[in-house]
């Protein structure tokens, strides 16, 4: 029995697989991880402080930069919070457009996240490129509605900035048409790959109780077997109108999270199908016209008070908290970022596994540093 010594290695902040500027202080015994401490803050941009200085309308643009993969969902949450505080009605068509964009964004995020995860596992980009092809199609749609591929800045208080044109509806339908084929291919490429199974099964296990104790959300908690989804737990917007399932895993390992993401893409596709069918045809109702006209006259001043709203971002529960004192910008503004809170469970997930597994486990949490550091 040989005595071994513990060694500390720094993974990052300059490292290809830390998903941004992020540092992992790993204490290892040989190749086995004894302790892991995530160190972040390298990308801090004063988001919450800026939100207290900029006007409400201006702040929408910087919510795009939180989780830069899902600008649509970030805007959705922020707009909902402001609407709740100001009691602004949202027309039905606008709600449908918001849901469509959110679900497209979820597909975009999961396709890319699985691709990145496999990239971390070392599959040299094939899966990533497959995912990116779908992401590209969705970003074309986003560009058409918002004018920008990633920082869409599309949602407004009381609706969305522009209406869906018939052409765009056609484009979305075309995308939905081809999507099942993609996900079948994607699954066939990876689901039964022996190496993938060997590297992801029983790796990074997060037990049910621990997951709840860390208050992780999104695919991470669902992978651990808790069917917690804001769209079900506290239906917002018009999510109560759609039939969809919430996938849960059984073991809580990396492979379960991967399966959950795959299934969630299918469910998003299901929601999108329903939403496209039900989409009300009344054009012009994409935004609350009365509010729009009023806000053109005098800008937006929220009544004093506070509001908290949460949405199911692909990474988990994204919450916005705004306190207003009646001015034209928030008095206090706070965000519950899912990436940050999911990251806190990393130490418990990695302990006892090898250094090579850290990267895979980190990839399975699917973090975006823009959201972690804010």
């Amino acid at each position: 029995m040989l005595k071994t010594e513990e060694l500390q290695i720094n993974i990052g902040p300059q490292h290809p697989s830390t998903h941004g500027v992020f540092r992992l202080m790993a204490t290892v015994d040989g190749e086995t991880v004894v302790h892991l401490e995530p160190v972040f803050g390298y990308l801090h941009r004063n988001h919450e402080q800026l939100g207290e200085i900029w006007t409400y309308l201006q702040t929408i643009t910087i919510t795009d930069r939180l989780d830069y993969f899902n600008s649509m969902i970030n805007e959705h949450g922020y707009c909902m919070t402001v609407e709740k505080l100001a009691s602004i009605e949202v027309p039905e068509r606008a709600e449908y457009i918001r849901v469509i964009m959110s679900e497209l964004s979820r597909i975009l995020n999961h396709a890319a996240a699985i691709g990145f995860w496999l990239q971390d596992m070392g599959s040299w980009g094939t899966t990533l490129m497959f995912g990116f092809r779908q992401r590209e199609m969705i970003m074309d749609i986003f560009e058409s509605v918002g004018g920008s591929r990633m920082m869409c800045n599309y949602m407004r208080f009381g609706g969305v900035a522009r209406d869906l044109t018939p052409n765009l509806v056609e484009q979305i339908n075309l995308f939905l048409e081809g999507f099942p084929q993609f996900i079948d291919d994607f699954e066939r490429l990876m689901m039964e790959n022996e190496i993938l199974l060997a590297r992801s099964r029983n790796v990074g296990v997060l037990p049910k109780e621990l997951a709840a104790a860390y208050s992780v959300t999104g695919p991470v908690i669902r992978g651990s077997g808790i069917p917690y989804d804001i769209r079900r737990a506290e239906p917002y917007s018009i999510y109560d109108r759609f039939a969809f399932d919430i996938p849960v895993g059984s073991v809580g390992d990396v492979y379960d999270r991967f399966l959950v993401r795959m299934e969630e893409m299918r469910q998003s596709h299901r929601i999108l199908r329903q939403a496209m069918e039900q989409l009300p045809q009344a054009s012009g109702s994409y935004i609350n016209q009365a509010y729009k006209a009023a806000s053109k006259q005098q800008g937006l001043r929220l009544p004093a008070g506070e509001a908290y709203c949460r949405v199911e971002s692909p990474k988990g529960e994204l919450g916005y908290y705004i306190v207003s004192n009646g001015g034209n910008s928030a008095y206090r503004y706070g965000i519950r970022a899912p990436s940050l809170i999911n990251l806190t469970a990393l130490n418990d997930m990695c302990r006892g596994y090898t250094v090579a597994d850290i990267v895979v486990i980190l990839g399975s949490i699917d973090i975006v540093m823009g959201e972690v550091d804010r």
């Binding site: 697989s17 069917p227 090579a356």
Partner: protein
Amino acid sequence: MRAMWEFFFGVGWLATLTSYLTITTAILVAGSLVMMLLTWIERRGLGYMQDRKGPNRVGPFGLFQPIAEAIKTITKEDITPTDADRWVHFLAPVVILASTVAAFAVIPWGNLIPVDINVGVLYIVAVSAVHTVGILMAGWASNNKFALLGGMRGVAQAISYEIPQVLSLVSIVMLVGSMSVVDVIQNQMDPYGNILSWHIFTPVGLLSFIVFWIASLAEGERPPFDNPEAESELVAGYMTEYGGMKFAVLFLANYLTNFAICAVTAGVFLGGGNGPGSDIPILGTLLSVFYFLAKSLGLFFVMVWIRGVVPRLRIDELMHFAWKFLLPLALVNIFSTSLWIAIIRWGAEQGMGIAEALGAPGSIARIAVAWVVTAIINVVAFFLVARLNATRGVTTYQATPTAV
């Protein structure tokens, strides 16, 4: 003294030197050209597998891309990290490249044979073993934890996979009865002169090929065994602290190793330059070079293909695979090779009088019996080992949709 003087300035000495220098130059130039072609194949091939174009701007089909990159790397600044061991850091790429290029001395390009030594197969193994010293030098001298870790992994992997690799070659050497690469290739032309006499088309040769090819992928640090330079874990492994021309040399060595693997596999298992018409005097030589390149590049394409599809193994799984899967198979294969030889070649003299009932040594009946026996042993062994290695006790996974 006088004799020595004559030795140094005799004409015969000069002629020998010149001829060997010519061969060396040819190997080096051909090697570099092939390396350029390989990087192009790899990037374009991967590009098409991944739904993108790959480099297609420099020259026709992007063929001159490697030249552009060579110019870029040459003009880059040469950096040695602070506190690095300057000399070892500098020498590591040299050692790695030298050991790689040395292997080409015995690899026949079709009918063109640079050097034929009677221990050619062993020579290839020996020089590729030196490669690991270079990796360790590079990893240690860089004064970087990631580089050191990459170097360690590279060496552990290379040493482990060397064993199944060599043992799988042992069966071929037993079949041929010689370690000369030329003899190995000659053996595949006999006795019937058809394509089926390639080693890969015998049960023994097939299993040997499988083991050798997988072990070689690990030796050449190709995905899924690219742990020493695992990008997502170790940045670039032992190459992390190398830039400019030193990196280019490492890169060159890497691709040359890959080509050497393909060339050796083509020679040992796929008949080298053998093919229809390769025995015609002059045209045949050209044809044989063509066949050789086609086989080698085809094998390289398989490498690219594998890279495009599979993720990387973890280092412990990788070790288990070498020791628990490849090694038993290689050993079983040596056993069935000896059976093959006994049934085909031996008579009463060697205690195999029973085989003579089937006919003269090398007769069809004997070959058929040997075929069936070795095929059964190898197939059973393969599935047995695969079954023993399969992950057990794993619950069936399914992300169950629950309507809440």
